[in-house]
């Protein structure tokens, strides 16, 4: 190689080193990538939140109207609607936003971290709305009909409105990462293997239940559940979600956009 060529190579290597940047410099862009179409992650879930709530209130008022206007509080499961909606949107992110992120040359690591942070932000927003909705239901006595969609004893356990919001936000984040996981797994493996994995997970759950039953450990389990608060539940769930995020990265690491 001529000395000129060597100099040229050295110059270009120097340029390359000069261009060195943080491996996470594009993390904010990867975060914003999830909000490329604002309706997807913001307006549709907000619409589902308020519409499902309005529907639940309407049904509550109707039932109260049919009865004598008194009676026990009426609890609905409509708060789940937004969580399911966001879980599907997260699955969509894995099937549609991931191939586009590859065209934009994001590393899979930055894409997964960006998605996690975006899902966490949306989940935090959901948690905050959940807490506000609880306060509103308490102030109005379940919209004057004892109809409660958010102020659920299961959620407010030992922690009040704020704790319920934290737990709801964490549940939402967990659900989104589960949706993301199944979608990216579908991209990675064949349909047959996907079903095998799903069945194995169900079998694992069944075996756990059987082990608890066989050893008579259910009272201890209920005792443990009884002393937990919404905060501690949220903590455990967040730990599982972080683990699942790591699994998601391992699954997506070898995923190919066209597969």
């Amino acid at each position: 190689m001529s000395s000129l060529a060597v100099q040229s190579t050295e110059a270009s290597t120097a340029q390359d080193q000069q261009a060195s940047r943080s491996s996470f410099a594009r993390l904010p862009s990867a975060f914003r990538l999830q909000f490329t179409v604002p309706s997807q992650m913001i307006w549709v879930p907000l619409g589902v939140f308020f519409l499902s709530w309005a529907l639940a209130i309407g049904i509550g008022l109707w039932i109260r109207h049919l009865g004598d206007g008194t009676g026990d509080p009426f609890y609905t499961g409509a708060s789940q609607a937004t969580v399911w909606c966001l879980a599907f949107i997260a699955a969509y992110s894995a099937s549609h936003t991931f191939p586009f992120s590859m065209a934009l040359s994001y590393s899979r690591r930055v894409f997964v971290l960006g998605a996690f942070l975006a899902f966490a932000a949306v989940s935090a927003g959901f948690g905050a709305l959940f807490s506000i909705a609880i306060l509103l239901e308490r102030t109005t006595g379940g919209f004057w009909a004892q109809s409660y969609t958010f102020d659920l004893p299961l959620m407010t356990q030992n922690a009040g409105a704020l704790g319920a919001g934290v737990l709801a936000g964490t549940v939402c984040l967990g659900a989104m990462m589960v949706g993301f996981f199944w979608s990216i797994l579908y991209r990675r493996v064949s349909l047959a293997l996907l079903w095998v994995i799903a069945l194995l997970l169900v079998a694992l759950l069944a075996v756990s239940v059987m082990v608890l039953t066989q050893n008579g450990w259910w009272p201890q389990v209920f005792d443990w559940l009884g002393v937990q608060s919404s905060y501690s539940f949220a903590g455990w769930l967040l730990l599982l979600t972080l683990g699942l995020t790591a699994v998601n990265y391992l699954v997506i690491r070898r995923a190919v956009p066209t597969a």
Partner: protein, 305 residues
């Protein structure tokens, strides 16, 4: 000149097929390379692996001197838009361009807007509702306006009409002239891109058949049209790539350049010398490879029987 894309002994094996087999390739920086080959030859796999979208089963890949897989030091300097690129659902073209602007450090928003007007990309139609040509145009615009140091275009013309294809070639060449970079362009329309590319890489059945500068390649073969006996005499020991007979007149494509005395002699004997188009040459070379593969396979097939 330094190397932009370097593949060393790269193989990509799937359960039932081998897409790339021990491919070693070195593409120079700041040049337009044409990646040519038949369907299923391994073009897309090669580009996917070079752009770190797919992983090789074995071998080493380096882009601008760095391993690209999961490497944010080099990935923002690469752009690879696929033939059927998938976008965020419900996205308009402006959403895709905004996302690209945040991803590519050298993105030129003004150029993207100008190209969108020229390609007549509809502003208020969701990408998934666009025609195939309009969707291809969105990909082409991202590829050009990204000004990525290494840009891969995988058959970008799919769905584009002749006017839009010409516009793509013109704008790519213009922007390349003002902002030199490495472009790898895969295409079936070889003659259409012949004037664009400086270097040709021909891939077939997962192996690189040839990698040469276009000018050098053009000189490798000629087509002779004339009387059969005279042409046969001239050809001598040259390798025949293609032969057609029309009565006493033959049209024969041979490998090997002609020197000036040979050309003069042929003209004197009424033999017409025609240049071989890049497309013809590559078709003939690929066909020759197929034939030689079949020939070499024959004995083993016999043994198997």
């Amino acid at each position: 000149m330094s190397t932009a894309v370097e593949l060393t002994q790269v193989s990509r094996r799937y359960r039932s097929a081998t897409a790339l087999e021990n491919v070693s390739l070195s593409l120079e920086r700041d040049a337009i390379h044409g990646l040519l080959g038949r369907n299923g030859a391994g073009k897309t796999t090669l580009m996917s692996i070079a752009a770190a979208q797919d992983w090789p089963s074995s071998g080493e890949v380096k882009i601008l001197g760095l391993r690209p897989h999961e490497n944010e030091q080099v990935l923002p300097r690469i752009c690879f838009v696929r033939e059927e690129q998938r976008y965020v659902d419900d996205a308009l073209a402006k959403h895709a361009f905004k996302a690209a602007a945040r991803a590519f450090p050298r993105w030129d928003a003004q150029l993207a807007a100008q190209l969108a007007r020229e390609f007549r990309v509809p502003e208020k139609t969701r990408i998934k509702k666009m025609s195939r040509g309009q969707r291809s145009a969105v990909g082409v615009i991202i590829g050009i306006a990204s000004r990525a140091e290494v840009t891969f275009f995988d058959e970008p013309y799919m769905g584009l009409d002749a006017v839009a294809r010409q516009l793509f070639y013109d704008r790519l060449l213009e922007d390349y002239a003002s902002h030199p970079r490495t472009v790898v362009l895969s295409s079936h329309l070889i003659d259409e891109i012949a004037h664009l590319i400086e270097n040709v890489v021909v891939i077939d059945q997962g192996q690189i058949l040839l990698e040469e500068p276009v000018e050098q390649l053009r000189d490798r073969a000629v087509t002779l049209v004339g009387r059969q006996d005279i042409v046969a005499e001239v050809i001598g020991t040259r390798e025949v790539l293609h032969h057609e007979a029309m009565g006493r007149i033959v049209r024969t494509t041979v490998l090997g350049a002609l020197d000036e005395p040979e050309r003069r002699a042929l003209q004197e004997r009424d033999v017409e010398i025609l240049p071989v188009s890049l497309q013809q040459l590559i078709v003939r070379l690929t066909a020759r490879e197929d034939t030689s593969n079949q020939t070499t396979m024959a004995p083993s097939e016999e043994v198997a029987r």
